[in-house]
Symmetry: C2
Subunit: 562 residues, 2 copies
């Protein structure tokens, strides 16, 4: 042995694994899930410097008796937009860590659409403060398509500048499917940047799906039906089964998962509001739901741990084996999957104290609209955006409309307005079915992907008021019903609150209560936030009018072309 | 669409996948194995620019009717030392390509032990000439341990200089187990160089195995028993089931493989002489053997294709799906797995013509020994190296010896001699049981890992002659029985022949026939080549004497210490 001693981390845990040094902590009497074998092993866990040194009997400085509790590796979310929680990264992390999540693969697509490189830098700057590991897939489509106008344009050279940055591992969901199929040159340059490329290919099938894969894209989290999932698995995609606030695909896709295909399936929450995170949980909720739909618990656990770790080449996690990080969950007693305590690098996380977050002013130059700005003219057969319950896709409905009868609360046909954040005075109106409001209006500055201000209402006055409230707050969510107004300010880029998650949750619930009082559906703000999403079929609305996803073009509200 | 057109490769196959351009070739009526689903899909394959564009009906410039033949993705060897075939890289490739192999993960450990960086550069320089893809894991242990003295020492800084070189993907088998367990500083620096680290941990178990894994090593190809394989799988290792010329582990390990663990199992040939490659095959032989021992064919095929591709992060292969390379095998009719034709990048390989290889002089400064150099003195209880049939491990036998009776062909106790290649006059002698020679001697310059000259014989005169022949040839394998001599020259570093594989095969068979005539066992040269391998239990011999692997020290032949 010559020269300097080996770096402490690797050599330290080797010494502990051999029993030459004391381990830091020995967790006694655990029933440990082993995703390699699918077994539950009754064993002890020895932790040194945050890593598993070994299983079985070990001398250690501290001992923690787990009294036969079940222990699973820290849960992994394969694809999430943290911004959609309405929480700051640190508060999102504090909340999901309570639910057993220790690693998230995040695509900061939303904040990048608002603030570009500054937004990505902001998310990266938060990494060190978090109680979980934040791994970044770079937003590949800012704006989502050439048809979208947001606060930033990220070109391949911009993304290239993040290569080699700690925490950046690949290219995030390539949602610009038409750009792939039509050969957008800069998009292809982005595909050349990273070996790991996530996809986003709702309802894509046959030759177009093959073409999308031929471009080198490897995964999808948009499967809504079993046939779609089977085709994608058969063509080699990694499937992240998505269970967000409105996009809930577990029930439909779980029947496709088998023991042999489970390495190619993971869970993803994609877009999950704070309320669902607080009330139902995070990946733990996905596991419970998957089991409730008939999946074997061990297969669900593999999908939440080892499968995503391997898909992303994260060799140091996904299992509790020697050399892996000591991130794990201790389950509550009983058969149901419920996380009682979360350990990170061998330490129980203390999650009662909020983690402060700096404000980050968004790009916000909108002007409050007047009623005359949101008038709809024309009549006859109109294109109406139709919500699909629990799905992110929308229908393109054709309904006979008499403008004088609008809003038509009897048939649940309301006005939808998009007001640009970035270009004062740019505003468009259309029609939407499915929100259920019989009075008032809601508005928000969370509006995928450009994050303009989107509003739906049964009253033009309330629509204008709600939008004005959001603008005045520098971003937020608002519900207005005459004199009754509720506002959740989103001081971080107009997307996320800087407040503790408990407070955001209460504010959000107040908003939801007001929406319910106005007759609105559950999760109205999540559906609202997807009305402008031009990369998912079928009918959307941007600040320049209705948008037909299939033809990739703006279309008039009335078929007569007015 | 602005700017330059996308790079042809990616965009070209996307266009073909969409049907906008003709594919280059459409393979009709194939029964294609799909490792993602485990199914056989009746479909067509469309190839563009060497990649799969899509499956199903496609317009194409050429059509090849496969008439219902079964088609499997190109086979992958997860771990091989090409040098052990006795063939040059190009001739090795030509031979294994006939057997359906299209990618090998090779560790140029042998040539690196002889020639250091020059040896690795030589292997890399051959890549472009090969009909298969050669992917390199850098030799991590040159020499294998601090006890070994070969032709080169590769330090972490040397290996670091290969980072980023095309074809170099990770750190090869870390065979210096004691260096890991004892914290060899430069070995730990090597572990920090690459995320992908292959292992080599024969019979390692319990805390020592945990320690080895805690160092970050991920795989093993040395499992000889099911309990060993179960422990290693349970602790998260990738297992390459090895089936070499003498180290044959498929029969013992196959029972451990299940559908759920098959993503973590691959096949490896490690060290396979030209004769076995010609007569039985390569990975195709592993598949046939695995099936014959009860493994489901589809599971065996996954282990030979997708499992290694994923383990090594080779996203572009392992399956015949859009975006993957069009490397595949067409099987012969009938139920048995037999490769009839091999296609690479969509073209049938034409393998009848030998591929020329430049000579590469080894590091060869040995002097021919005299009989007085190989005398054994002492008597009583002697340590004798005991061969274990079909295994690479050896026994450490204790046998009563009367030196005057040596060689004791009645009890099959022969003399073994190691003569340094690199240090003239350094020579050692010991005893070995299991070769069966009743006259003559064999010698070779292939002698893992230092590749000194090793010889075993029933006659001291023939021993000296055989060693001298090898030295005079600048490396080779020789059999000597009085006046009858057979020599296979190895002009490439004293490890590989520069001749066509058919010719090497004939020469090697002639050697084996002479060995058989002398009473020797099958594969005598392969067993011979492992007698100096100080990283595998239990008793070995180097140019400095007998070596006890467990105590990592040289020991005298006679227990009395003489």
């Amino acid at each position: 042995m010559e020269g300097n001693p080996p770096v402490p981390s690797r050599w330290g845990r080797v010494r502990a694994a051999r029993g030459l040094d004391m381990a830091d902590t020995r967790f006694l009497n655990a029933e440990v899930f082993n995703p390699f074998s699918g077994d539950w092993d009754r064993t002890d866990l020895a932790v040194k410097d945050g890593f598993l040194a070994g299983t079985g009997l070990y001398p250690a400085r501290n001992e923690v008796d787990l009294k036969g509790r079940r222990v699973v590796p820290g849960l992994i979310d394969a694809h999430v937009h943290i911004e959609s929680s309405l929480l700051s990264p640190s508060e999102f992390a504090r909340l999901v860590a309570r639910h057993g999540t220790t690693t998230v693969i995040a695509d900061p697509h939303e904040i990048a659409n608002v603030l570009g490189m500054v937004g990505i830098e902001y998310m990266l700057s938060q990494r060190e403060k978090l109680p979980i590991d934040l791994v970044i897939m770079l937003p590949s489509c800012v704006p989502a398509t050439a048809s979208d106008i947001g606060g930033a344009v990220l070109e391949s050279a911009d993304l290239a500048s993040f290569k080699g940055r700690p925490g950046v591992i690949g290219l995030g969901e390539v949602m610009n499917v038409s750009g792939v199929l039509q050969g957008d040159p800069d998009l292809y340059r982005k595909l050349d940047l990273f070996p790991l490329i996530d996809g986003h290919a709702p309802l894509l099938t046959g030759r177009d799906l093959s073409a999308y894969l031929a471009a080198g894209i490897q995964s999808d989290h948009e499967c809504t039906g079993p046939a779609e999932a089977r085709e994608k698995i058969g063509k080699g995609m990694f499937i992240y089964i998505r269970e967000g606030s409105t996009e809930q695909n577990i029930r439909a896709i779980i029947p496709v998962v088998t023991t042999s295909t489970s390495p190619r399936f993971s869970f993803a929450t994609d877009d999950r509001h704070v309320d669902l995170l607080v009330e139902e949980g995070h990946i733990d909720d996905c596991i419970r739901k998957a089991i409730s739909y008939g999946l074997e618990e061990e297969t669900a656990l593999r999908m939440a741990t080892l499968s995503p770790a391997e898909r992303f080449g994260l060799h140091d996690r996904g299992a509790l084996a020697p050399g892996k990080v000591a991130d794990f969950c201790v389950l509550a007693p009983g058969k149901e999957f419920a996380v009682e305590k979360t350990f990170r690098r061998g330490h129980e996380l203390q999650l009662n104290t909020a983690i402060p977050t700096p404000e980050l002013r968004g790009n916000f130059t909108a002007t409050p609209p007047q009623i005359t700005d949101i008038v709809l003219t024309g009549s006859g057969s109109a294109r109406v955006i139709g919500l699909v319950p629990h799905q992110i896709i929308t229908e393109s409905l054709i309904i006979e409309i008499v403008p004088d009868n609008l809003p038509d609360t009897r048939r649940d046909i309301l006005k939808v307005v998009v007001c640009s954040r970035y270009h004062p005075g740019r505003i468009a109106a259309g029609l939407v079915h499915g929100f259920g409001l019989n009075s008032g209006a809601i508005a928000g500055s969370v509006s995928h992907d450009a994050h303009n201000i989107v509003a739906v209402g049964a009253s033009d006055v309330d629509l204008c008021t709600a939008i004005s409230l959001v603008i005045a707050a520098g971003g937020g969510l608002a519900a207005v019903n005459g004199d009754t107004t509720t506002l959740l300010q989103l001081a971080c880029a107009g997307l996320m609150s800087t407040n503790p998650y408990e407070q955001v949750y209460r504010s959000f619930k107040a908003l939801e209560h007001q929406v319910a009082d106005m007759g609105g559906i559950d999760q109205a703000f999540m559906y609202l936030s997807f009305l402008s999403l031009t990369v998912i079929p079928r009918l959307r609305i941007t600040d320049r009018g209705l948008f037909d996803v299939e033809t990739v073009s703006h279309v008039p509200v009335f078929e007569s072309g007015v």
